[in-house]
Amino acid sequence: MWDKAQLEARWTGWSERLDRFKKAIRPFQRRILLFLSVVGPGLIVSNVDNDAGGIYTYAQSGAQYGYMVLWSLIPMTILLYVSLEMCSRMGAVTGKGLSDLIREEFGFRVTFFLMALVLIINLGNVMAEFTGVAYAMDVFGVSKFISVPLAALLVWVLVVKGTAARVEKIFLTVCVVYLSYVVSAVLAKPEWLIAALYLLPPQLVRLIPEMKPIIHAPPLNAAYFLILAGLVGTTIAPWQHFYLQAAVVEKKVGPRQYPHTRNDVAVGSISCMVIVFFIIVCTAATLYAAGIHDIDNAKTAAVALKPLAGKWASALFAVGLLNASLFAASILPLSTSYVVCEAMGFESGIDRKPREAKIFYALYTALIVIGAALILVLPSSWQNGILLLSQVGNEFLLLPIMVVILLLVNRRDLMGEYVNSKGFNWVAWISTAVLIGLTCLLLYTGIASAFKPAGQ
């Protein structure tokens, strides 16, 4: 038996040991907390990427061209990482948002026209999100005249009541639904080796004689370039750059914590593209293989999930689409109003009262109301067009944004030692040149096919 004194001695011994242990792990605790506090924006940005416009564009590209669009994923991953990394670096070093920097360095007019473009293109994206809501709820037999106004109201209230940050976590969790594409792709038993070969540009692979019979080259026409532009625009959407830089500033990331953020951006970019790879392979192995080349509603798109979910495929797809649409719809109008108001010098922020920040609240409300109303007013046959063209609009806007980012990030008076390295600059400018090339090809083939006499 222990007597009391012995017990007490034991007890103090243990509690001392516990204290020592606590002291020893304190530095690590702090480091882990620090990592968790900076990690996140990159992952969120890349996840929001797979919004309604994104899902549609990926699925449509897989259905229309099979594996023949896969080669674009590697250059797109590079461009995504390069452009987001520059923005997060600018946020960490300058502590200012992208639109603030544009205003200070390029003056009022450039800012005004750029912001006008951002506003129009982002309105297109908001419309795409509400189209996603309409499509998803259509699967459950709910008319868009009920689902879209409800979704608009929900999003508006969520943000204005300040509950958005908490709900964001729910949205982020439901994003796990995308993993069903990975499983479904595996179950559909695609030819993985061939899919992997398509990760290189097919035109180049076909130069090897043995490859000619297995690898098909895509037709280089306006429709193909339109899909490519849509893919680029949805993956590397301009608004993500504003959002990411603002989030980095908001999280008070400084140059010392910056390496964590860079890892976060890298993980986000790569994981996003892996999901995109599986979505395209999955739709290619199901829809394209079955000869369905046009996705006209959510049920068709859901066929891609049949190998996994069978008759529940439509419901699974609808839940994922609804979640993605609402997630993006709760971030996009808000981030747009922030960006525009900060650039133009209007009071902004949800923590301000509507009376203090009239323009901010007006813009935010207008984006949601107009976006939702247009979806109700426009004929349903336009909805696919809205989904794809809003993403192509992103690609067009990406050009000036990339140029502006590159000019800013190389300014030594702003960035000091954190300007781009020479190699990084090469990669970034070449990517921008490729973007310009793609846009020119799209415009050229588009105009050429518009003027081609009918029947040829």
Partner: protein, 411 residues
């Protein structure tokens, strides 16, 4: 009639002989000479070297046109000068602090008032435009100014008088040359200043903290987001940082140092005077989640047998932060904790009353290892304003005050 900077940019300049000289591309204020007078106009002439017109060489100024009182030959060639504040480059589109509205705002346009004096016209900066009117003028800049003025009539006006404008310049040398002081900022409440600083860039924050007096800087740092505080302190000159830390309450200084890398915090402690550094070091030993990690080791204590009047007389002589003083700790002959007295009771007591008779009941204290949750519960249960922390011999080592509790709860 007042003029706007947008109406002057691009204005034609004509000399006394009626020759066209060039167009106004920029104009400057020389704060060393006069704080709000436009001192020089930069006139560009295409591929020729730009000229500069001094304020006493200008005969009249109207929207879009400037007439000089001298001939072109008397104008000097333009030489960049760091001591000149360029209205277009340094002011337009930049953020400034509005010290009357306590906000960070962006400049859309600048309003100038012409003043006639012996044969020439001087322009003085009257106010900066931060509203829609200025935005519209910037957008339509180049159109006839009569038209723009008509258009903007219906728009709301938002402007800040020049004397309330506090410029932000991150380069310390340039700041001295431009005579930018932050005296006006020192009159603001530190919490307001901290909130404004969160909207600025890292370099700008750094520059403001570096130029404030140590006392204000310490108060602002205590209010800032702790993630920003560590960034600022790390980038400060260690001597200055130590001076600021010395002004902070030891518990706030300890919280700040705990976030810094070991080498930096050791270096700063070395720089601080012995006694303050010792207090902070002792606090750093405590786990931040305990009463010891929350407490402030500087508190006011008197003997329990002193009379009310003696205590008041003693307090008058001390250099204390009276806004924060609401409780006085009592000690007995063995220097052990024997209670605390609220300042309100002290005020209303009789001159001869002993401090012991004014004690607040019940007698409460915690030991430094007590978890923060336990402390919060005590504050909640007994509606405390402050709580004394005692060591194993029942000697008071510090006090936790209600503001410590509030800031912990909000974290």
């Amino acid at each position: 009639m007042d003029l706007y900077a947008t109406e002057l940019m691009g204005a034609e300049a004509w000399d006394s002989q009626g020759h066209f000289v060039g167009r106004v591309r920029e104009f400057f204020v020389e704060p060393a000479a006069a704080p709000n007078r436009v001192s020089h106009f930069l006139l560009s002439r295409g591929r020729f070297q730009p000229l500069v017109a001094r304020h006493d060489q200008v005969a009249s100024v109207e929207p879009g046109i400037i007439r000089l009182s001298v001939s072109e030959r008397l104008l000097e060639a333009y030489q960049p000068n760091e001591g000149w504040l360029a209205v277009q480059k340094d002011l337009m589109d930049q953020q400034i602090i509005d010290t009357s509205g306590r906000k960070v705002v962006r400049v859309n346009d600048v309003e100038l008032s012409p003043i006639k004096s012996n044969g020439h016209v001087e322009l003085r900066l009257v106010q900066v435009d931060v509203g829609l009117q200025g935005a519209v003028r910037r957008l339509l800049q180049g159109l006839p100014s009569a038209l723009i003025r008509k258009l903007q009539l219906s728009l709301p006006q938002a402007s800040i008088r020049w004397e309330f404008v506090n410029l932000i310049e991150s380069d310390p040398l340039r700041r001295v040359k431009l005579r930018i002081t932050h005296e006006k900022l020192e009159d603001l409440h530190p919490a307001d200043l901290a909130e404004m600083m969160e909207q600025l860039s890292a370099a700008e924050r750094q520059s403001i903290i570096a130029s404030l007096d140590e006392e204000t800087a310490a108060a602002v740092l205590a209010e800032l987001d702790h993630r920003l505080t560590t960034q600022i302190v790390e980038n400060l000159d260690p001597e200055k940082a130590a001076d600021i830390l010395e002004e902070m309450a030891p518990d706030a200084a300890a919280d700040l140092l705990a976030e810094l890398p070991k080498e930096t915090s050791d270096e700063l402690l070395e720089e601080m005077p012995g006694q303050e550094a010792e207090e902070v070091r002792e606090l750093l030993e405590f786990d931040p989640g305990t009463a010891g990690g929350m407490m402030n080791p500087e508190f006011v204590f008197v003997g329990e047998k002193s009379k009310r009047d003696e205590v008041l007389a003693w307090i008058r002589k001390q250099d204390l932060n009276l806004d924060q003083l609401d409780t006085i700790v009592l000690l007995d002959e063995l220097a052990q904790y024997s209670g605390s007295v609220s300042v309100a009771r002290l005020v209303l007591a009789d001159p001869e009353q002993l401090m012991r008779e004014l004690r607040t009941e019940p007698l409460l204290s915690v030991d430094p290892q007590a978890r923060d949750k336990e402390v919060f519960e005590l504050f909640d249960k007994y509606n405390l304003r402050s709580l004394t922390v005692v060591d194993q011999e029942n000697r008071p080592v510090g006090t936790v005050t209600v503001d410590d509790v509030v800031s912990r709860l909000l974290k």
